[in-house]
């Protein structure tokens, strides 16, 4: 099972990214199973938010919060702390949206790509970076998920941002 923890602030779309990944995983396949959920509770703009995606080739029945993740994806670098490594598998990686380099984490200036495509948040950019680094879904599947689950008027810009992020990883 692949497990991804998403960190962001209320309004940055961390849970949307978690859902898009879950939806993408079996969008072309009947024998793959995804589960996505937010950290439960009242929603507040700006408050730290966690979201979880679990991906497996059999139905995912463990609905508890991930204790050991393959990836932690952080949309807001003020939420990074070295203690997060305790939530990673040995082979796990942290991907952070940041202009600064962070020891032990993959960093990338996702905000600049978001800005280029007039997006208020870098959630789909970070989704693209995860796709590029992990290959848990293909960029084709990710694009289909955006087309299936994001409002029509923002699909194109989010797809462009996602594909740019995938390309950045490849280069």
């Amino acid at each position: 099972m692949n497990e991804i923890i998403w960190l962001g602030r209320g309004g940055q779309g961390a849970f949307t990214a978690a859902k898009l990944l879950g939806a993408a995983y079996n969008i072309d396949s009947d024998d793959k199973y995804g589960l996505a959920f937010p950290s439960f509770g009242p929603e507040r703009r700006g408050a730290p938010v966690r979201a979880f995606t679990k991906l497996d080739t059999k139905p995912v029945v463990d609905r508890s919060q991930t204790e050991k993740a393959d990836y932690i994806v952080i949309i807001d670098d003020t939420l990074y702390s070295p203690q997060l490594r305790g939530l990673l598998k040995d082979s796990g990686k942290v991907i952070v949206n940041s202009r600064n380099s962070i020891d032990g984490a993959l960093t990338f200036d996702g905000d600049s790509i978001a800005a280029e495509f007039r997006l208020p948040t870098a959630n789909t950019v970070m989704f693209g970076l995860l796709v590029g680094h992990s290959g848990v879904v293909t960029s084709d599947e990710a694009v289909k998920a955006i087309k299936g689950y994001m409002p029509a008027k923002i699909q194109e810009r989010n797809i462009s941002a996602l594909l740019r992020a995938v390309q950045e990883v490849a280069e």
Partner: protein, 390 residues
């Protein structure tokens, strides 16, 4: 059939859309809100042709559904926690009036301390109200139960309202892929609602009347018989459902690796999956572990429970409920089933997940270990045992 990545609430709303209710009365409460929001959007965009009534409270939400049902309409409402308790008076009116309303309840803890997270103390406190009660494990089952609920509730032999329970957040807010049937399939499965139990100007009759000591007990007996008849109707309905939609369900309970099991956890709702996974792990270590998931608390699966626990060395009942001063209510019900059938297995109660506390794989493994070694009668996960006067 189309595949979609949906939350439990959204999946349930899709099932209700396919059931074509004519009146929806809604009052929002976390974590139920999404289901009435989605239904409101469906009415707005025309994909559901229903009268959508915004009411001022849960008491009014169910009163409105009762009125609609008395007019011969298929009615839906939804609630949770304090909302369910606030409408408690009306639960009995709906059941006693034999109005086959369907209500979704997002299982959530009860105040105080105030808490919006999931446990099952709200719905389990209403077992005596005369409603059928189902507990779903995942979003697909939630959608399927939404469709099956009306067929069961409206059956002439049953004529009883139906409460479909979904664990708050863990099920209502968790997304997974579900198959959504087509309207053609759904219409083949569920015809429109026809009843004599309605206001009819051509054939006027008294409804929702009083009945004194000379006849009251007969109505109560018939209410009881209606709920008991749901046993058979649930089984027939699931058979028909499998024919049309291809998904099979197993009646009042679902057994997992129980045939040769020494140790069984009996539970309900969304935690059952993790119990099955833990049973698998223990089987690899040579422990004969099994799981029984109760799908319906009313009617209660007396025979099923007694049969499956007849030869175990010990069983645990894991529930998100405590009846203060005694034990978990599911445990009481399970023990009664065993006593009636003369089954003498050793049983223990585990209270977990209150106020949304996580139940981990480790907690479940500990339950199997504890019942193999013997423990207190009533145990609070995260705290410890109570000797419970034994």
């Amino acid at each position: 059939m189309s595949k979609k990545f949906l939350s439990g609430n959204e999946a349930f709303a899709e099932g209700i859309r396919l059931a074509r209710p004519q009146v929806i009365s809604a009052y929002p409460i976390t974590p139920q809100t999404i289901v009435v929001e989605r239904l409101s959007e469906m009415v707005e965009d025309g994909s559901l042709n229903a009268e959508y009534v915004h009411v001022e409270s849960e008491h009014s939400a169910l009163s409105c559904a009762i009125g609609a049902s008395a007019a011969g309409a298929r009615a839906f409402t939804a609630t949770s926690s304090q909302g369910l308790l606030y409408m408690a008076e009306c639960l009995y009116y709906a059941a006693g009036g034999r109005f086959p309303i369907v209500m979704m309840n997002a299982d959530r803890s009860t105040a105080l301390p105030w808490n919006i997270y999931g446990d099952q103390r709200d719905s389990l406190s209403q077992l005596d109200s005369g409603w059928i009660q189902s507990y779903a494990e995942n979003a697909q089952e939630a959608l399927d139960l939404a469709l099956m609920s009306y067929k069961i509730a409206e059956d002439k032999r049953v004529q009883t309202p139906y409460m479909a329970n979904l664990d708050g957040f863990v099920l209502t807010h968790t997304y997974e892929t579900v198959d959504i049937p087509t309207h053609e399939q759904a219409d083949k499965f569920l015809p429109s609602y026809e009843t004599d139990n309605r206001i009819d100007f051509d054939n006027p009759k008294n409804m929702a009347f009083s009945a004194g000591p000379d006849t009251n007990y007969i109505f109560k007996y018939k209410e009881h018989k209606g709920l008991l008849a749901a046993r058979e109707v649930i089984s027939e309905t699931e058979k028909k459902f499998a024919e049309i939609f291809g998904r099979k369900y197993s009646g009042l309970t679902e057994n997992y690796r129980t045939d040769d099991a020494d140790y069984i956890i009996v539970t309900l709702g969304s935690i059952a999956g993790l119990c099955r996974e833990t049973a698998d792990k223990l089987r690899e270590q040579g422990v004969k572990a099994g799981v029984v998931r109760i799908r319906y608390m009313r009617p209660f699966p007396n025979e099923e429970i007694a049969d499956v626990l007849r030869n175990v060395k010990a069983y645990a009942v894991l529930e998100k409920d405590i009846s203060f001063g005694n034990e978990g209510t599911v445990f009481t019900n399970v023990n009664s089933a065993l006593k009636k059938a003369g089954v003498d297995a050793k049983g223990y109660n585990f209270i977990g997940g209150l106020g949304g506390r996580n139940i981990s794989a480790g907690d479940i493994e500990n339950i199997y270990t504890s019942i193999a070694n013997g423990t207190d009668a009533v145990n609070f996960i995260g705290i410890g045992g109570e000797d419970n006067g034994k």
